[in-house]
Symmetry: C2
Subunit: 423 residues, 2 copies
């Protein structure tokens, strides 16, 4: 564990609120890691003034920073391991020193405000759920993605973090989406649609029918616009579309597959004859622009909402530019105090007539993570550090955590008072 370059600086000589905490960038996740990841992060620093801390193999990061001529200007936190792209949820247990786990640890310690990773979604979600934990009052986290609608993007959640969601969970997703849209789209009261199979209230499955009742009950600060259907996803009619992680993931991938197929068919049609090929040349630039706008590699990725810290999951195939965007987004969400906004929004749904659901309603994965964590602590207390079953905690980075005295900002209050992890 080495801290290199410029460490996250103490905010001593200026008001603590002025400078947000840096974004922890996982340099080891993604198809083009670490080169493109580091290049994207450097660009975020250079061109957009985003503060970042790079997490990963320190020597390699060092070389890349040298190459970009910014050696010593961007802090590095070393991480031994990386989650492979093929690795799923279990890796979060097997690799407690993965770059993502270390990045989460930085957030918990108050040394970073958010995490950016292009690692496998399953691995990022599982690790950050395990390490950051769900924020108070939130039953289950959700991945929000931004759909390429015009003139204004539509936010779809959940894109796959939580399947088998209860109606009350969908109401909470509406609260998460509202908080997110307020920051991302700058809309005071974003309209929220419920994804189902017909516009009328009675349409849908058991879960969406009940969620419709709860959402249309009002009094929870959500601007509910009623049911929306699959073909409304790209129409831009609502700001936020709420669904469970199973349906949302199927819909999102269907959309991506359809866009790919449509473009490939169109390319075929446009180059099938000599006149068509001439035509294609004449349209080349416009179509490339369009393709880019609709390409998941450009708009792709998502934000995991509902944990004690914001996690931006970039597309696995992300090149530098996508990483720059992801860093900017993470910065914007941290500056907009997304975690606190979510707390307020979810609180508003809780104080309405559906106040009962926060008790005892946690999904099994989060439960397992919680239990494991409690077991971990018990383990340590009872049997000392030698217990072989105990997954080791990420070791503490070399520098002290100067920002721990800064205002909570994007961090949840309970985490701030936690003692440093045992080494």
């Amino acid at each position: 564990m080495t801290g290199q370059g410029e460490p996250p600086r103490p905010a001593a000589r200026r008001p603590a609120t002025v400078r947000p905490l840096p974004i922890a960038v996982d340099t080891m996740g993604g198809d083009h890691a670490p080169g493109e990841i580091i290049e994207g992060a450097v660009e975020a620093v250079r061109a957009h003034g985003v503060r970042v801390v790079l997490v990963g193999q320190a020597p390699r990061i060092q070389r890349e920073l040298d190459r970009h001529g910014v050696a010593g200007k961007i802090p590095i936190v070393h991480a031994e391991e990386a989650l492979d792209m093929g690795e799923g949820a279990l890796a979060s247990w097997r690799k407690p020193k993965s770059s993502i786990a270390i990045a989460c640890h930085l957030i918990k310690q108050g040394r970073a405000s958010a995490l950016v990773s292009a690692g496998s979604t399953a691995g990022v979600v599982a690790t950050s759920r395990l390490r950051l934990k769900g924020q108070q009052g939130v039953m289950r986290p959700a991945i929000a993605v931004t759909l390429p609608t015009s003139p204004r993007p539509t936010i779809l959640l959940d894109a796959g973090a939580s399947v088998d969601v209860k109606p009350e969970g969908l109401v909470q997703f509406a609260a998460l989406g509202t908080a997110y849209a307020q920051i991302l789209l700058g809309v005071e009261r974003p309209s929220v649609g419920l994804l189902t199979i017909g516009a009328e209230p009675g349409k849908g499955n058991k879960v969406t029918k009940r969620a419709y009742e709860l959402l249309s009950g009002g009094s929870h600060g959500i601007e509910f616009a009623g049911n929306v259907e699959g073909h409304d996803l790209l129409s831009g009619e609502v700001n936020v579309v709420v669904t469970d992680g199973f349906t949302g993931n199927v819909a999102l991938k269907t959309m991506e597959g359809t866009i790919r197929t449509a473009f490939s068919e169109i390319r075929g049609a446009m180059t099938a004859s000599a006149p068509a090929r001439v035509g294609a040349l004449l349209q080349r630039r416009r179509l490339l622009e369009l393709r880019e706008r609709l390409d998941p590699d450009t708009y792709g990725g998502g934000v995991l909402l509902g944990l004690n810290g914001t996690v931006v999951i970039a597309h696995g195939a992300s090149h530098a530019r996508a990483i720059t965007s992801a860093c900017e987004l993470a910065h914007r969400l941290a500056a907009g105090r997304i975690v606190e906004r979510i707390r307020e929004q979810v609180g508003a749904t809780r104080t309405s007539r559906f106040g009962r659901w926060t008790h005892g309603e946690r999904d099994s994965q989060a439960d397992r993570a919680d239990k494991a964590d409690r077991a971990d602590k018990t383990d340590r207390a009872d049997r000392g550090p030698k217990s072989p079953e105990r997954p080791p905690e990420p070791s503490r980075p070399a520098e002290p955590a100067p920002e721990a005295t800064a205002p909570a900002g994007d961090r949840a209050a309970p985490e701030r008072t936690e003692p440093p992890a045992a080494t």
Copy 2:
């Protein structure tokens, strides 16, 4: 109630198996009813030798047939009422003399083999479930749609008939889809994928995880190809994709909306500048062909499988050509004895190790329909025909049902021995 024109003829002077029963065409459903519906049916008769019987307002149908110069050549069965496009499931109770109800009655009487309607999907599904009933052993019906994949179409089911499906229901959908694909695609052992959110067996929600276990258990005549994801829907990798009616409907509408958006964006990009407009002209024909292939109005509509009779639901916006295709499809399925094939396929899943599910496992809508039907019969027996709550049976068409002595063909055995409905 009038029977006009050439009635469905007795099959007396030729072997009963040679001439399949006619297709009952609902002339009153759809945005362009009855003109385009009748025109499409006439074309099916003229150009493809499909036998049809037209159900609807007899005088109007008569005029249309005059106009097409085929007066007296196509049988007509009068129906007083039509389901409005906006009407849902309840209409099936309120309108027992709707054209769809009468068409179902023709099937039950053995005077038609299948129904074609461009009416509202909810209305068609509810009415035909109520009137035709689920075929023996089938827990819940499913709508199969054909996706415009190349080189061979992919069949997706359920596209919206049954939401909240149990894992065993998904296995049955696999059986329905297998039977359908055998006839439609001419594949002996069609490959079946399960729509979920990851290729690995453990991915999905509770229902799909269990369905994966059941399907990969084998020994039920289904060629299970594992999980597929949203972006596989248009890749043509499997012949059949199985999902519940909620997810399937969302995916299908997402696909339709995405195709529409992509084409509209492309049109915009192609005509945005003078050179691009020239290019667009050069490509016009190819792109129109492509658009047509991907347009839901062309490939749209679906087949309701699992009832005692085949129901082809054409797209509400269907023009004549789509109705002609729907009639051809209904004819092909009837000739392929789809109901019997489904019985065999479902029987094969039943005799496997998952034999328990046919007992007591019916969805609530089918239950309600069954109970109502039993109540109806009890009612009639106990209190005579004057009970005001009893929905009146569709009145018996004027002609006798000569095909009732023909082999079961597309009908389920129990229906054949049923006495004619009370008038």
